[in-house]
Subunit: 697 residues, 2 copies
Amino acid sequence: MWITYPGDFEIWLGNAFNNRRTERGAMFPPFWKQDTHYVTVEFSTVVRLTHPETIRITAEGRYNFMLDGKLQYGEPSTFLIPDGEHRINIKIWNQTTPPALFITGDTIHTDSTWLATYEDKIWIDENGVAHGSGIYVPAAVHPAFQTIEQRPSLFRLSTSPMRPVSVEKEDGGILCDFGKETMGYVILHGGRKGDNIDIFYGESREEATDHDRCETLDRITVSADGDYIVPDSKAFRFVHVITHGSPLSDVTALYEFLPFDTENSGSFECSDPLLNKIWDISAYTLDLTTREFFMDGIKRDRWTWSGDAIQSYLMNYYLRFSSDTVKRTIRQLRGKDPVTAHVNTIMDYTFYWFNSVLDYYTFTNDIAFVREIYPRMRSLMDYVLGRTDTRGFADGRPDDWIFVDWVDFPMPKRGVMAFEQILFAKSLQTMAECAQLLADNQPINLPQGSLTTDDYTADARHYSSLFSSLRQQTDNVFWSDEQHAYLHHEEKGEVSQIITKFPNMFAVIYGFADAQRKEEILHSVMLNPAVEPITTPYMRFYELEALCIMQQHDLVLQEMKDYWGGMINEGATSFWEKYIPGEQGTEHLQMYGRPYGKSLCHAWGASPLYILGRYFLGIRPLKPGYEEWECRPHLSTLSYMKGSVPTPHGPIHLSVTPDTVTIQSPIKGGKLYLGDKCILIDRTDEPVTIQKSGCSK
Amino acid sequence: MWITYPGDFEIWLGNAFNNRRTERGAMFPPFWKQDTHYVTVEFSTVVRLTHPETIRITAEGRYNFMLDGKLQYGEPSTFLIPDGEHRINIKIWNQTTPPALFITGDTIHTDSTWLATYEDKIWIDENGVAHGSGIYVPAAVHPAFQTIEQRPSLFRLSTSPMRPVSVEKEDGGILCDFGKETMGYVILHGGRKGDNIDIFYGESREEATDHDRCETLDRITVSADGDYIVPDSKAFRFVHVITHGSPLSDVTALYEFLPFDTENSGSFECSDPLLNKIWDISAYTLDLTTREFFMDGIKRDRWTWSGDAIQSYLMNYYLRFSSDTVKRTIRQLRGKDPVTAHVNTIMDYTFYWFNSVLDYYTFTNDIAFVREIYPRMRSLMDYVLGRTDTRGFADGRPDDWIFVDWVDFPMPKRGVMAFEQILFAKSLQTMAECAQLLADNQPINLPQGSLTTDDYTADARHYSSLFSSLRQQTDNVFWSDEQHAYLHHEEKGEVSQIITKFPNMFAVIYGFADAQRKEEILHSVMLNPAVEPITTPYMRFYELEALCIMQQHDLVLQEMKDYWGGMINEGATSFWEKYIPGEQGTEHLQMYGRPYGKSLCHAWGASPLYILGRYFLGIRPLKPGYEEWECRPHLSTLSYMKGSVPTPHGPIHLSVTPDTVTIQSPIKGGKLYLGDKCILIDRTDEPVTIQKSGCSK
């Protein structure tokens, strides 16, 4: 298989991905630092052979080949390794795409046992002896790069043909309706070389036909007679094609997608058809935004955003369980040192990034990834800790973006925000847990330059102490016994009396609020109509999660039907960036002061996937990678529900009626909670039905 | 002209340059981290037009174009800017070569007034207002990229044809002797497509004909009938060409070189023909090693090395005054943050790097370059200061290479080396001086994110205090009143009684030793035959410089004639990496345990250029860029000498006999010292002759 330096493929691909965004035909790169791959990387291994063996060497980049410390002539494509123990070192230089190596022989193959370094740091001591002080890490492998033909630099998503469901002549052009929101490459059929053709894309009919204001467009000069595939994929439901030359014979498209594992996918079906529709459209929304990376929205921004991504990850654990897309996105978002800004320039997005690593570990048990990313967690946390006030609070500096949410009321964002401190505390806790995890799980053969057990143990202690102190400080400063809530912020030494849902719901989700405070928060904040409502699916994710944790399943079900059902009533074929129930007609298309500024397919719109899987089917890992797991089904007002939840071992199938729970699990260690009763679930090849009778409600 | 992000062209070109080294046909990259250019860069300016103006836009990379904050369609190659004040922002993405921009119009042109950033850091505040918190710097311009055709990515050295001076049949092949050491591309004439031809290069006849052990070779398959130019340039005097197909009609070469300013070059001629030959061969040696960057040696390593480079810079100020090559090399050597190792992994080389910046400023008065590089000086010094012991000494850490010199006697290099502390102290002094310089010379319109005057002032104080403390500590620990010398090192708390020339001569050169100590060092170290001799031209540079400072010109002249004259006697056509007078025949070719391991054209071999210009012609700047300068001619045992020293204002010409000094200067501010007399020299269009009579000797 191909090997690369860890993270480099993602950082390189991320540049192509993020720079692919266009706004009315102009490239629109992100406004944060774009890192790139290490251009010169050395890969090495030691082999022990009983027979001589010829290996075949393929590289992306110019390379050299060293056997037992001796450079060999040129760039050998094959090499005979003698029997016995031998050291192989290969250095590859590639400015354009990540240095990558593929070696195959009878027994020798590039894989994750190989080491990689971008700096071997050779030096010569006073006795003329050469030493190497480089930092080595296990080489990265990728499921998509198994064969020699699957070169990392050639990575592409899959495509399949699609046709519009209706075509009409409109305004001197052809207006194609593909029937639902989609993403892909438009194909113009039967054009003539040199023809000038304009393509206006719309998530709505209004957008595609409003040529002066639609968000994306292409002005094409056809390069040859016949079929012409537009070079960049775009988001659209409607495409308005204006031909300035000979008429086209047809307009179709290639749907572009990341293939997923149909054998290990999530599903949900219940007695409520609207809820089923909500789940299906959520799944489609997440599939559309699950690409090279988890994308915020397919029309806009088409970037990776950490706050959006952590929600996609959580939904993904209940839909496709694409661990690789999670890892790719986490690596891409982090980039490289030096840290010069928060992730995506947003303070909250830095904190979500930390927490996504522990979430990933919890769902997958992939400790190798935690070990890989930990040094970059550490240097990102150094950046955060270098910007705190004397009490240890992460007060926003003049160049920090404090996002929280898009809100429709005046909400102060300067000074010390309670919301940010709660996220920060959770990040410190995450750091401490990851450090302890790595201290407890050191591999036997540590590559040169690795962090030691002592390093990890010291880190765990350090972060744990910072966590305790910050949590205490946050409680002291922001919890109000009078208001029964965390207050919004402190500015110029004054704690405001403003209450918002944000800090309160995160205190519930992260378990920082005890049972008593949870109860207070439920009534004084979450159910209090005087507190400003949330108007993005983004923060509704956490709002509904907090309500579920506080056992408000009936309310959550109704909220889902009202809110996501409301979008469906407005004609949504995928879920939106923002939805304000009272708005009318084309008001739903507007955002950021632009008539079609709103993204109508936004990953954070798909949160019912997570809420239904995690809190209604009620399945989640108790130990990393579902080595232990629980199922706490909540039928709520439904008369039945059934569904599947993917795990690293395959899907758990569940079916629930008022009287029975039927379960089939590919893995032991399950705990089914029915009322106050806990039933242990073993691996079951066939569905097993458990009667609820005798269990308290 | 083309603009790029400062330093990025050099870092990118440096990768091509350093990775071009081969050893017996195998690519041989350096063993330190190779950085690369920022792949996405934004360039911006504000224009004020009285008439509308059409600009022409050319970029290396994909780009967008924003006028007054509004993105324009596609990648416009021309654009009409309306009259009035307008803001232009262009973002360019290029993974392969540095993003570069060329804009030209009637009044609008890209130049160093444009700003560049790799991170505009846009964010939105609580009122929905967008802000940018990016760090902006003046865009970099390059003299080589003035016209639209001179794209940075196409930068190449010049070439001119050359022929061997003799050709003989040898061992079934053709042995060409080009008469002297040279560097370029071999051309095979009259080959047939598909012919296999081997080329063995030699700095000596022995090397070119020793096919199994020569250091560089090419195995070529001719790609077309006719003339074939070998793709990579190589160092050679002899080339042995073995044809495995049809015979060749001829073998020639293209000499490859960096053009220099013949109008502003140094020269030297005197009554001693051997000294004249030494100067000429030194000049040729430095010309051969002055390329995209200052290179250590043209056969090996063909890399940039900071310790070698600082000497090349100083020689260059007395030969070609190529400020651009100095800047390119300083930028390339520094690379980017994070700092993960010393420059070239060598502690001493880090210190030379700092000092080279102040040297450059002294000779050129180019404060803009100091301002550009200062943030990277600061972060490199942070790295150094993060690795000191409790007394502030830079004790070598296990992964630091302590080089000092190639020595032929056992010399301890662990613990705290006096030599390194003296270099470190000089670096701290350099930091303090640069910081103060920038504090005193802030431009009026500082780009956003620039260091403030307060920042610089605080730095100057900080570094100055560290300097004083380190100098004091070094004196306390290492100066021996008994031995009248700086002792070599301290290890495990014990100061050794070993004396080497290294710390002592640097204490003299940097002015850390006062008159009394200088005198002691002269006798107890520099002239003491019991102290181990120096055997590389590298450290002979500083040895001779220290002796000149201690007024030992007669001795230095004789040493030059013996040592460099010794190489000439052995047939040198360029000066060597190392020379041990007692060695015989092919012993001179050996090094590193390899029969032809020694480089026979090594930049550090050319130091007579500096010694003769600086201490015999005696010319040097007293104020930056020769705004004030002095001439202290030392005829020594010569009956006459004449020569030229380049300055930013053109060359100063000097001619000295025992009775007269004739001087012609393009710049005022000169001080001619004759004995204890100082004569002020104004700008002189014609040579002016001054009689020495009346001046004390």
